[in-house]
């Protein structure tokens, strides 16, 4: 009756060759990609002056970390950075939410023109406007304050754009349902749109934090005191244009600046990436 079959137990194919290649490729690339960080870790554990040899027989040492730790008030800088990053993020979230909401759901004359203007801001590089921005911050009396560092970044075109997209993808019915249930406009925003855009917020927060955690020049320029300066200023002390840097020390300093962020990322990696995934940024 079943001539076509040699046996009832079908031979199973070998593990897919493609899949093995994929995994190999992915791993190799991953290792290449973090190799600078691996190298930095290695260098930071080497005595000054021997890091480049890649001589694995050398004993590991924590002296670089001790040296770097004692050199700079890291705790203070760390606190400043956290405050700064939080402040910027908070400002961005509020401003971009309001503006994104306006662009997504309100009809007003000139809306599209203004939105194009907003997008243009993406191209206006704050790096070259430092002198002008310094003057403005200084005139506003915000010099040497966290707010002064943060203010120029708060109206983020990128954020407005992302949130507008996110809000636009929220079904209108949700808004209508909320309105029928008695929500005001602000209520609709707060109770419907913001929760619906949560993944986008998370994703955006990640980008924002990574950016501002690492910002150096602007905070340096508009601050005067260690009371407001961020971590990167501490890091900059170990970069030495006049004499060339000490790789072990700078590695140790680098690792110390990014460690909090990196650890947070490693712990919340899944959530972060999921957040991005769910954000469906397109």
């Amino acid at each position: 009756m079943n001539t076509a079959f040699a046996s009832h137990h079908a031979k199973r194919a070998l593990p897919d060759f493609d899949k093995v290649l994929d995994a190999l490729g992915a791993w190799v690339l991953a290792i290449v990609w973090i190799s600078p960080l691996l190298f930095a870790t290695w260098a930071a554990l080497q005595p000054s002056g021997t890091a480049l040899g890649l001589d694995f027989s050398n004993p590991l040492t924590f002296e670089n970390f001790t040296y770097v730790w004692n050199a700079v008030p890291w705790i203070g800088y760390f606190t400043n950075t956290v405050i700064l990053v939080t402040l910027i993020l908070a400002g961005q979230l509020v401003l971009c939410t309001l503006a994104g909401f306006a662009f997504a759901r309100f009809e007003f004359r000139g809306r599209d023109t203004i939105f194009i203007l907003v997008l243009l801001q993406l191209f206006i590089l704050p790096e070259v406007l430092i002198v002008e921005n310094y003057a403005i911050v200084s005139k506003l009396g915000l010099f040497d304050t966290a707010l002064g560092i943060g203010l120029p970044y708060m109206a983020s075109a990128f954020g407005i754009f992302l949130l507008r997209q996110a809000f636009k993808s929220v079904p209108v019915e949700l808004e209508e349902a909320a309105r029928i249930e008695g929500c005001s406009w602000m209520g609709v925003l707060w109770k419907v749109y913001v929760p619906a855009a949560k993944p986008v917020y998370l994703a955006y927060a990640l980008v924002s934090i990574a950016t501002h955690w690492n910002n150096f020049l602007w905070p340096l320029i508009v601050t005067n005191s260690p009371d407001t300066r961020p971590l990167t200023v501490g890091l900059s002390l170990f970069g030495a244009p006049e004499t060339g840097v000490d790789i072990s020390v700078i590695s140790a300093a680098t690792i110390m600046t990014i460690a909090p962020l990196l650890i947070a990322f490693l712990i919340f990696q899944r959530q972060f990436i999921q957040a991005f995934l769910r954000a469906g940024i397109r």
Partner: protein, 373 residues
């Protein structure tokens, strides 16, 4: 219509969109406590009408009054109504319970009251035990029930529903249909219900308002619509399979009503009213037709026939019927079963005789298990 003032009064309301679509000069009276279905093909303005009542659209002209109060320019939240959306519009980040009490919280209802109302709504909709789930963790039917619970929890006397069942599968739709109707009757609320599914309209409505191109085609109780469709459109829209509509010119002269012009008349016959006979000699008259196919549905069989000069007709026969495509048959019907429509699509009176035969009756007996051979 009814003697007392209607609960909802829509007077000459228009809402025209840029494309010229929308609703035009609509007047509807909806009695308190009734279940009114807005029926019609896609794009005919059902949702627009509903949204006008809800206040989600603003009328260009005309007035809308709910419970004797002019609400034409009142925002949705102040109209004292609730709404169930086709997509349910559940808030995905809130749990079932939070979804249901959303409006109560917004309106700052007291904690205890919220609690008792929630319990009741969960109870009524059979959602106990699901309070803490997120909508994404529910099946379609459960989501539908949450939307329902949210609509009834506030105790508004009016509930609007826009195709609330169209995302459910056939089986579920049937049972939820019953639940909604029961609920409406139990709570004594007024429901305005939008659907394009005539079965739904027929089985649920006290009053069906059939719309077409932004205007009302026919309004009345389901039996009216089925038995006395006011227009050819209504005749074709209500009933499944739909009424066959044939040009009178394709019929034998014998059946054409006297004093009418066959060239301008349309004849309509419901599938269940068509009599098929393979023995073409037994009847005095009959339309000869060819069977093109049949569909067995368990309790009944649809037989499709081609009639020269027409787009064909469907006959609905009880039980299983094997009939080969290509078979020649003769079609006939009881005279009272015929519907006639004029050139303008309007029904031609009189057709009262047959209607009488279907008068309500509470004493009867039926056995259709064996088809009459």
């Amino acid at each position: 219509m009814t003697a007392q003032t209607p609960f909802i009064q829509i007077r000459s309301v228009s809402r025209v969109f840029n494309g010229g679509n929308g609703v035009h000069d609509l007047s509807i009276d909806i009695p308190r406590g009734s279940f009114v279905v807005l029926l019609g093909p896609s794009g005919c303005g059902k949702s627009t009408t509903l949204r006008l009542i809800a206040g989600l659209e603003t009328a260009d002209h005309g007035t809308i009054a709910i419970d004797g109060k002019d609400v034409t320019n009142v925002p949705p939240s102040k109209r004292g109504l609730s709404m169930v959306f086709q997509s349910y519009a559940l808030f995905p980040h809130l749990s079932v319970a939070e979804n249901i009490i959303f409006g109560l919280k917004v309106r700052k209802t007291g904690k205890d009251e919220i609690k008792s109302r929630l319990t009741e709504a969960l109870n009524v909709t059979g959602l106990e035990g699901y309070e803490d789930r997120k909508p994404a963790e529910l099946s379609g039917g459960q989501r539908q029930r949450v939307a329902l619970a949210r609509a009834i929890v506030a105790g508004h006397p009016l509930c609007l529903m826009d195709e609330p069942l169209s995302n459910l599968d056939a089986k579920l739709r049937h049972s939820v249909r019953k639940d909604i109707r029961d609920l409406q009757q139990r709570l004594g609320i007024t429901v305005v219900y939008v659907t394009h599914d005539q079965t739904e309209a027929m089985s649920m409505a006290d009053i069906v308002i059939l719309m077409k191109d932004g205007r009302i085609e026919q309004a009345g109780n389901p039996a009216d619509l089925y038995l006395q469709p006011a227009t050819a459109f209504a005749a074709g829209f209500v009933g499944s399979p739909p009424m066959a509509l044939l040009p009178a010119s394709a019929l034998p002269d014998a059946v054409i009503p006297p004093k009418t012009d066959a060239g301008r008349l349309t004849f309509g016959i419901r599938p269940e009213d068509l009599v098929l006979s393979t023995d073409t000699s037994t009847k005095a008259w009959g339309i000869s037709a060819t069977v093109t196919g049949s569909e067995f549905l368990g309790a009944e069989t649809f037989v499709y026939v081609a009639i020269p000069g027409t787009s064909g007709a469907t006959a609905r026969l009880p039980g299983q019927v094997h009939i080969a495509p290509g078979t020649q048959v003769s079609l006939s019907w009881a005279g009272a079963a015929a519907h006639w429509f004029g050139e303008d699509g309007q029904r031609l009176a009189p057709t009262a005789t047959r209607e009488a035969a279907r008068e309500p009756n509470t004493s009867f007996e039926t056995d259709t298990a064996i088809p009459s051979l």
